[in-house]
């Protein structure tokens, strides 16, 4: 990211985007727009939870958020720090046990969209959250699977949110924790999962969607100020780029205001 940065107005190293918002804010806003109103969304903690709650507070007030702690129809007014914070149960429509949320809700096909983060991802949207390096003598031991493998298996579609960098966007995963489009093409279908796999990866630089045939993730849109060169440099494989790369609509004043309020309330609650 040297030469390309001189004529780019996005300064990724400092998280500064064009205008008065950060690259992370752009990423969260772009992810929140993927969530349609009224859908059932199984939410991971962290960035996915931030995006899903931004959506609920803006254009998707009737989306039904499900957390793996068994909270159904969660309506947190601050962002939960853990997947089972009290704020998730407080205004939930129902609270069920962990087996019930995975078996009766996720596996049974009641979840429209899964919102996931990742430590590493490959060109087919397969995800690693287990180890970096060999399994038996890992360089980095990551937290592990959690709820992700079954979300990736059974949600009708999956939205993945993570910052784009070579360490995260890798040619080959050390470990496949959650299956995306496997080896591309129809190879996922052979596994017999009811869910359709990842439909979009939202990063701090842009938006990637799978090619309809090969299922390889392709850069479809760049956030304002980001360049194709930046996206290529941040990707550990030879990134496919759409013929006409769109530009993401910058965050609206409302989106920014709601997101910042949410984060300020969350910070205040953590003290």
């Amino acid at each position: 990211m040297t030469d390309a940065r001189a004529d780019a107005s996005i300064d990724k190293a400092n998280g500064k985007a064009e205008g008065s918002y950060t690259t992370d804010e752009m990423m969260t806003v772009a992810a929140s727009r993927e969530l349609r109103d009224g859908v059932v969304c199984f939410v991971g903690i962290g960035l996915p939870s931030e995006a899903a709650n931004l959506a609920r507070a803006t254009h998707a007030p009737d989306c039904f958020l499900v957390y793996e702690s068994g909270t159904l129809g969660a309506k947190p007014d601050v962002l939960p720090l853990s997947i089972g914070d009290g704020v998730l149960a407080e205004h939930a429509d129902s609270v069920v046990s962990v087996p019930e949320v995975f078996n009766y809700w996720l596996q049974a096909g009641r979840v429209d969209v899964g919102f996931l983060g990742a430590a590493q991802i490959d060109r087919y949207g397969n995800i690693n959250t287990t180890v970096v390096g060999p399994y038996d003598s890992p360089k980095v031991r990551l937290p592990g699977a959690g709820g992700a493998p079954e979300i990736a298996a059974s949600a009708r579609e999956v939205v993945v949110i993570l910052r784009q960098k070579p360490r995260a966007f890798v040619e080959k995963l050390s470990f496949v924790t959650s299956v995306g489009h496997r080896e591309g093409g129809d190879s996922r279908k052979e596994l017999g999962y009811t869910g359709g796999g990842p439909t979009v990866i939202i990063t701090d630089l842009g938006v990637l969607r799978p090619d309809p045939e090969t299922k390889e993730f392709t850069l479809m849109a760049l956030h304002p100020g980001a360049t194709v060169e930046q996206a290529r440099e941040a990707t550990g494989w030879d990134l496919k780029v759409a013929e006409n790369v769109a530009t993401t609509e910058p965050p609206t004043d409302e989106e920014l205001e709601v997101l910042r309020d949410l984060k300020a309330r969350t910070e205040a609650a953590r003290k």
């Binding site: 962990v98 709820g147 924790t177």
Partner: protein, 285 residues
């Protein structure tokens, strides 16, 4: 039928070296008091079972109580890594830790099978992931009715389950409300059950989403107010978010970790004293 006793007696009687021990509480009602008593009594060679190993398992592992960990997500929620867990897996300190890892759905179903006295559970998952390559307790199975290929996971039947609940009544029934996680399944799958509670009441009040674990499903009940700190107990206290952050630098360093554990856990008689001990340090800091 359950008996109300001290936690020290309950652990002395029911938890033995080499046991498999499931300490459950899904981010809510985490049985810290129970885990600390195991550390105080210096149990060794345990197989620790827990969906979400967090601070208490970091402590049990770092203190050398465990030979094996069966789990599905090990991290410090909202903060980052479990450094004692990572040190054991990456460097074998203080002793090598065998791991058996699953997904949440797999672990949840293993407890359900255990609670149902079935040999295994079936789910639609794991296929295409690398988990079956490294975890022997995942195997394919064919539905005898439809021919669908599914994955089987064996039942979990820990020697002891420890959970924390809000209340027990005088008859030894246990009430849990709020996020109920996997505690009912963990308790019903185990051979012996220890429950720590915030308080003992005459009779339970009806509450939304409350479950009651009847006395016949529990062996020992101990009153340990605040026993789920730094997690929370709905209706009693909030999550001590700052503690999770504070744990990171303590657990990063082997010596710092050991001296912290010696000062606050090994150096105290019980959980009430532990709470006083860490609060005193907070004031000093």
């Amino acid at each position: 039928m359950s008996e109300i006793t001290t936690l020290r007696e309950a652990v002395a009687e029911l938890v033995h070296d080499g046991d498999s021990v499931a300490i459950e509480g899904f981010t809510h009602l985490i049985p810290t008091a129970g885990a600390h008593e195991i550390i105080r009594q210096e149990r060794k060679g345990l197989t620790l079972v827990r969906m979400t190993p967090d601070l208490i398992y970091d402590q049990l592992i770092g203190m050398g109580c465990a030979d094996k960990l069966i789990f599905s997500w090990g991290g410090n929620p909202g903060v980052g890594s479990l450094h004692r867990f990572r040190d054991a897996v990456e460097k074998g300190w203080p002793r090598p830790l065998e791991i058996e890892e699953h997904s949440h759905a797999g672990m949840a179903n293993r407890y359900v099978a255990g609670a149902s006295n079935l040999p295994f559970a079936v789910l639609r998952g794991y296929v295409g992931t690398d988990l079956p390559k490294v975890t022997k307790t995942i195997a394919p199975v064919t539905c005898p009715f439809t021919g669908e290929r599914l994955m089987a996971v064996p039942a979990l039947n820990p020697d002891v389950a420890i959970i924390h609940a809000q209340q027990a009544d005088r008859r030894g029934n246990v009430a849990i409300w709020g996020i109920i996680g996997i505690q009912k399944e963990a308790a019903l799958s185990a051979k012996k059950v220890i429950v720590t509670v915030e308080e003992v009441v005459e009779a339970f009040e009806p509450r939304p989403f409350q479950i009651v674990l009847p006395s016949v499903a529990v062996d020992a009940i101990s009153v340990e107010p605040g026993g789920a700190h730094p997690s929370y107990a709905d209706g009693y206290y909030d999550r001590a978010n700052a503690f999770y952050g504070d744990w990171d630098p303590i657990s990063r360093d082997r010596e710092k970790f050991q001296s912290w554990m010696e000062r606050h856990v090994l150096g105290t008689e019980d959980f009430a004293e532990y709470m006083k001990s860490i609060r005193k340090e907070e004031v000093v800091r």
